[in-house]
Symmetry: C2
Subunit: 226 residues, 2 copies
């Protein structure tokens, strides 16, 4: 009997990857217009390198970028990039279709809802608030809080403890097999993959270990399962 339903946020509840690319290119175009001597594609490639190197949660990507191009930081360009990135990001911030409807349905069915997310606590809450989702979730557990990232068992154990539910009473929904699904399975929690497909090696792993998981193409299909 499932009592607790846990969700990942990014690319599970809303389209992070798609809009981040658009927001970054918009920011770079404004910086180019103000004197950054690169084409959009060159600048985007350099920014991607910097993000890979420093991680997506680092908040000084544009500082590094101007330093690499000019040999020193350019405050005007950095500020123009940051403002444009944030404006475009918030303008594009949208839930995947049927997300709110599905969360209302789950609450009405009596489930407790939680979030288990790799990220910075305040930033993840900020997303939930801006998406108007914060009223749905009883608990939000982040990797910053737990001190480890998914798929580490510890973050799932912290979540179960906060929620007052056992692993058998819980289900985890996410788009990343290696983080959301593997983390849940390793903790004895059942798992549902959304907005993503099983790779060959994932299928082999599941078959070898005789595990079945649900794979849904969008969050609205949760109603058929829960």
């Amino acid at each position: 009997m499932i009592k607790a339903v846990f969700f990942d946020i990014d690319d599970t509840l809303y389209d992070t990857s798609g809009f981040a690319r658009l927001a970054r290119r918009a920011a770079l175009n404004v910086m180019i217009d103000a004197g950054l001597p690169l084409t959009t594609d060159e600048a985007y490639l350099l920014l991607r390198e910097i993000i890979d190197e420093y991680g997506s949660n680092y908040d000084k990507h544009f500082n590094i970028l101007t330093k690499r191009v000019f040999g020193e930081e350019k405050p005007l360009l950095i500020a123009l990039g940051m403002i444009t990135y944030h404006n475009v990001k918030f303008a594009l911030l949208r839930l995947f279709p049927q997300t709110t409807k599905t969360l209302i349905y789950l609450k009405a069915q009596g489930y407790n809802l939680g979030v288990i997310s790799n990220g910075i606590t305040i930033k993840q809450w900020e997303k939930l608030i801006r998406l108007d989702l914060h009223h749905f979730f009883d608990y939000v557990i982040t990797s910053e809080e737990a001190g480890v990232v998914k798929p580490d068992k510890k973050i799932f154990e912290v979540a179960l403890q906060k929620m007052g539910a056992t692993a058998e009473e819980s289900v985890m929904i996410g788009n990343k097999f290696s983080e959301d699904i593997m983390g849940a399975l390793n903790s004895g929690i059942s798992a549902i993959l959304v907005n993503s497909q099983l790779e060959e090696q994932d299928k082999e792993y599941l078959e070898k270990n005789n595990i079945k998981i649900d794979v849904i193409s969008h969050i609205g299909e949760l109603k058929d399962i829960l």
Copy 2:
């Protein structure tokens, strides 16, 4: 012969103090609505204490506030406070009347324009961009960049050097006697006080040292002087 005109930003070009108070109270009301067990006045008093203690450029005032009230940080309340503060702040961000008109006039007269500001470089650029003023200024010098705050002579010397102007060819416009006016006078730069009045001790200081400065009630009056 004046060639370079330097401005302070906060409370000189736009009304910082007035809107900050409104934005903070709006943020606290949202936090109270979400569970902060204080009245608006109690919360505002506590926030003011924290700002006085940590400085206005510190970015974790709401973290400290929830920690003082609850004994631990409350991420939902912190995020709600931060989002509301920023939304209200940007909604209210307005130049003082005649600011843009006066800057256009000064550029047309052939003056070079600069900013000398106590603050964090990127944040000060962000304000200039959001106010659409960044195209007017040839150089922006912040205390973060100079390593000292106004009234220290060094920040004015850095500004003169960047601008390629002597002290005699320059004038500083600001609202704070102890920072903008004293700093300029100590560096041999003439000064104009705006949006503020001379205190008794300021008048005594000026008389004793036989210094005359212009005092204007709003920035539009610069046209009568320059």
